[in-house]
Amino acid sequence: MPALEFEKPIVDLETRIDELKTYGSSSNVDMSEELALLEKRLERLRSETYEKLTRWQRVQLARAPGRPTAMDIIGRIFTDFQELHGDRAYGEDAAIVGGLARLEGQAVVLIGQQKGRDTKENIARNFGMAHPEGFRKAMRLMDMADKFGLPLITLVDTPGAYPGIAAEERGQAWLIAQSIQKMTRLRIPVISVIIGEGGSGGALAVAVGNRVLILENAVYSVISPESCAAIVWRDAKEAAKAAEALRLTARDLEQFGIVDEVIPEPKGGAHNDPVGSSEELKKALLHNLEQLRMLDKDALLDSRAERFRRLGVFEEI
C-alpha cells in the first residue's frame, strides 16, 4: 500500500530500521542498541503523527487507497449478501451497490457507495460517484426494506454525486432530492455510516438515518476541500487550508450533532487493521440496531424527523 504524503517520514524510518537490521545480521555487528533507539523514535513519530492528525490528513486517510470500501465491509461484517441490481427505469449503476444480507443472522437491506479498489474497478464504479440511476436503485431498495420491515443500513463513501452532462440531463438534483425524501418516509430502523468520504448531497442522499455513525478517520463535508480552495483561493492546492476551515472530521461533526457516534479506527487508519476496524463497526451497528428495535414504526419515523429537525446553529432574535 503506498504511503500517504504525511506518512512518508514514518515509512522512511521503517525502511532505515529494516536496512539496519539487515546490515546487522549480515555483518555480525551488534546494532541492538541503535535499533532500540530507533524503534523508540519510530514509536514516538507514529504517535505524534497519528494522534495529532490535521483535518487535511484525515481527508487523505479517508480517501487512502486500501481503505476498506463498502464491499470490503459488507464482506467482513455481513453474511449472505445477495446483491440486487437496477433501478427499474434506466440502468444499473455500479457506484452504488445494494441488496439483502444478514448481520448476526438478522436480515437487513444494505446500500453502499462503492469506490474502486484499483483503476479498473474505479472506472467501472465511476470512483463511487453515482448517476441518477444509482440513487433510484437505492430508493428501490429502501422501498423493499420498508415493505418487508427490514432494517436499512447504508454505507456512505463518495466524493459526491457525479457532475456530468448526462447525470444532469437525467435529473441528478431531482434524484438526490427524491432519495432524501424517500428516507424521510421510511418506517424502519435506518443506520447510516460514513465509512470514508461523505461528499455533499451525493452522500446525504443515502445518509438520512435514525442514527448516523462515522468512522474515526472518515470525513463528511458540504464541499470537497479542493473545490472549496478553488473557489476561495482560486487554487485547489490550498485544500489543506480549506479542510481546516470546513470542520469536516468525525469529531467536528460529532460536536454539531451531525453524527451520533464516532467509531474508533486502529492507529494509521482502518486499512492498517481491516479486521479489527470491522469489528468495531459491527459492534456499533449491533448496539444501535438493538436500541432502534425498541421503537415502533411511527416512533422510528418521528424520531428520525426530530433528529434532523434539531440540526443547525443559529440564534433566536
Partner: protein
C-alpha cells in the same frame, strides 16, 4: 458553481439586475435585447422586459406583492439570525460576509416568508433572496424554511416556495448540508395533511437547494430561462472537458427532460398558482386575473403547450 462569484469576492453590483425601492435612474438597459426600458414599466411588469420577455431578478418583497392579494401578507420570517459555528475564515471572515449581506438586504437571512392569501386561498409564501449571500442555504435559511412549512402545516395553508440559490452555504460546512434533510422532513408533515406544495424555480436554483426542497414540489414551475441543476456549469465543464450546449440546465431544458411541470412567465404566476392550488385542494376555481402581457412572450419550448 453559481456561488463562486459570491464566495470569491464581494458580490459585483449587478446594476441591470438589482433595483432599489427608489430608483435612481429612469431607464434600464435589458441585458438580453439591449432595449432601453422605462424602469417604472419594468417594475409594473414584475421586472420582465416588456420588449423581449427577459426575466430580470426581482426583489423578494416585490415578488410577494405581485403574487398575493393586496395587503394580506404578514411576514413571519426574521426571528432567527446566523451564527458562525465553524469560525470560518477564508480571505475574509464569515461574520464580515454576513454583515455585508445584512446591510445589503436589510434582512437576517436569504429567506423571506410569511402567510397571506392568494385569490382568497390561504397560503404560506417563502421566497429565497439571491441578494443575501447568493441565496445560499445556511442553518438560518434551513430553519426559516422549515418554520414556514410548519406554519403552513399548522394553519392548513398551501405552501409556495420560490427558490433562488447557489446551493449550500460552504461557511457552515455540513450543517448547511443537513438543512436539505431538515426541510424535507417538514415537507413530509405538510404532505401528510394533504396540503399542496408548489415550487417556483427562479434563476439560479442549483446545488443543495435544487437537490432538496426545490425539486420535490407537487408541481414544479420553472421561470423562463432560469439556470437549474445540481452541479455548476464550470464544474461540469471541468469534469467532462467539453463546453456545454446552449440552453443546458435551463428551465426549458428540464421541462423537456421531464423534470419540470411547466415554464411559466412570472406575470402569470399569480393566476397559475391560484388555479393549481384550488384544484389540488378540491376547491372552486378562484377568481383571479393576470397581469396583461402586451408584448410577445419568449417562444414556447414544448411543441403543443401554451405558455401561460
Amino acid at each position: 458553481m453559481t456561488l463562486e462569484r459570491f464566495f470569491r469576492r464581494r458580490p459585483p453590483q449587478q446594476k441591470e439586475n438589482t433595483v432599489n425601492d427608489d430608483l435612481p435612474d429612469l431607464w434600464s438597459k435589458c441585458p438580453k435585447c439591449n432595449a432601453q426600458v422605462y424602469n417604472k414599466e419594468l417594475e409594473q411588469n414584475l421586472r420582465v422586459c416588456p420588449k423581449c420577455g427577459y426575466h430580470h431578478r426581482i426583489p423578494v418583497k416585490r415578488r410577494v406583492e405581485g403574487l398575493l392579494d393586496a395587503g394580506t401578507f404578514q411576514v413571519t420570517s426574521g426571528r432567527v439570525k446566523a451564527k458562525d459555528p465553524l469560525e470560518f475564515v477564508d480571505t475574509d471572515t464569515y461574520v464580515a460576509k454576513l454583515e455585508r449581506a445584512r446591510k445589503k438586504t436589510g434582512r437576517e437571512s436569504a429567506v423571506y416568508a410569511g402567510r397571506g392569501s392568494l385569490a382568497g386561498l390561504p397560503v404560506v409564501v417563502c421566497v429565497m433572496d439571491f441578494e443575501f449571500a447568493g441565496g445560499s442555504m445556511g442553518s438560518t435559511e434551513g430553519e426559516e424554511i422549515t418554520r414556514a412549512i410548519e406554519l403552513a402545516t399548522k394553519e392548513d395553508r398551501a405552501m409556495i416556495l420560490v427558490t433562488a440559490s447557489g446551493g449550500a452555504r460552504m461557511m457552515e460546512g455540513a450543517l448547511s448540508l443537513m438543512q436539505m434533510a431538515k426541510t424535507t422532513f417538514a415537507l413530509e408533515q405538510l404532505a401528510n395533511k394533504g396540503l399542496p406544495y408548489i415550487t417556483v424555480l427562479a434563476d439560479p436554483t442549483t446545488g443543495g437547494v435544487a437537490a432538496s426542497f426545490a425539486a420535490i414540489g407537487d408541481i414544479v414551475i420553472g421561470e423562463p430561462d432560469a439556470l437549474i441543476g445540481f452541479a455548476g456549469q464550470r464544474v461540469i465543464e471541468q469534469t467532462v472537458r467539453q463546453s456545454l450546449p446552449d440552453g443546458f440546465q435551463r428551465s426549458e431544458f428540464y421541462e423537456k427532460k421531464g423534470f419540470i411541470d411547466m415554464v411559466v412567465d412570472r406575470r402569470h404566476h399569480r393566476e397559475t398558482l391560484a388555479n393549481l392550488i384550488a384544484a389540488l385542494r378540491n376547491q372552486p376555481k378562484p377568481e383571479v386575473t393576470a397581469l396583461e402581457i402586451k408584448v410577445p412572450e419568449p417562444p414556447r419550448t414544448g411543441i403543443f403547450g401554451r405558455r401561460k
